[in-house]
Symmetry: C2
Subunit: 175 residues, 2 copies
């Protein structure tokens, strides 16, 4: 998938994911709801049935946060690793996701946790240059690869588990 | 490939690429020359024989710039697309590469040219979260995928050609 993506409405996608089979009420917003790089990304995420592992430097896009929250509500096990310096920036969605009960861990280093990948159901890797921000989605030249090759998925899953354990709050130091 | 990478000396790799077969003189620097994520990345780049297409948001790592310059001197056709706001930052290697005669093009937008990929000989795609900066290589959590699957390579080659043409200086506006 290549970005920038035209702005688009993803209400129909979210409604269908929340209550499959129920016809979605038309959204009153003026945005088109066509097929865009963003809608394709959201569709991939919403295909999660069991787990969603997120490793994201910067996460401020409200539309993607709603998709993640919906999966969490639907019983998908969501884990999120992020960067300690970027998670507190204005517009960050991390607080909202934590508030919703999603497990979040972050680094304690001066170096950045600069990954931008997601793993759906331990079988689909979504990775690239794209930070999950509206600016990146709508204004930047970006790429996102969707890979189901087991070799790549396993390498990124292993990296996720390493980071998840390394950033376990029981390891935090306060001195 | 996952980063951060231990700091390492790539002089032996560069010397071998510059004059294949000639035994490299030992480098007096104190860095180890072992197998690291950085040395693997450099090895992939130095495998180029005909072309190297670079699409890089930020490029300030002198070691990677030396590898690119060496390929250019060896007759490999190097093309580089970068971001107009980041190419002038302190430590950027873009000026040096232009000075060496390498073709560079950049955007004219407020949105970022945020890709970080390289295509070797139109057959190997190197892409991920890694900006080509020493900070990212040595301090950040980063990933780089090396993909030879024709479908992915073609998609990124097409994106490169689109951007290369869009950023042609004959299209620049000065008003």
């Amino acid at each position: 998938l290549f970005f920038p993506s035209r702005p688009c409405c993803i209400e129909a996608l979210l409604a269908e994911a929340a209550e499959p089979g129920t016809p979605a009420r038309p959204c009153p917003c003026p945005l088109p709801s066509g097929d865009t790089a963003l809608s394709r990304l959201v569709r991939r995420l919403l295909s999660a049935r069991r787990s969603l592992d997120l490793c994201l430097f910067s996460f401020s896009c409200p539309q993607l946060a709603r998709a993640v929250q919906l999966l969490h509500r639907r019983g998908v096990r969501v884990r999120l690793v992020t960067d300690s310096q970027y998670m507190g920036l204005h517009g960050s969605q991390i607080g909202r996701l934590r508030h919703a009960g999603i497990q979040v861990r972050h680094d304690q280093h001066s170096g950045y946790m600069h990954h931008k990948f997601a793993i759906v159901d331990r079988r689909m890797l979504i990775t690239g240059s794209l930070n999950w921000t509206t600016q990146a989605i709508q204004s930047n030249r970006e790429n996102v690869l969707v890979v189901e090759d087991a070799e790549y998925v396993k390498a990124f899953l292993d990296e996720f588990e390493r980071i998840w354990e390394e950033y376990n709050p029981t390891n935090y130091s306060f001195f």
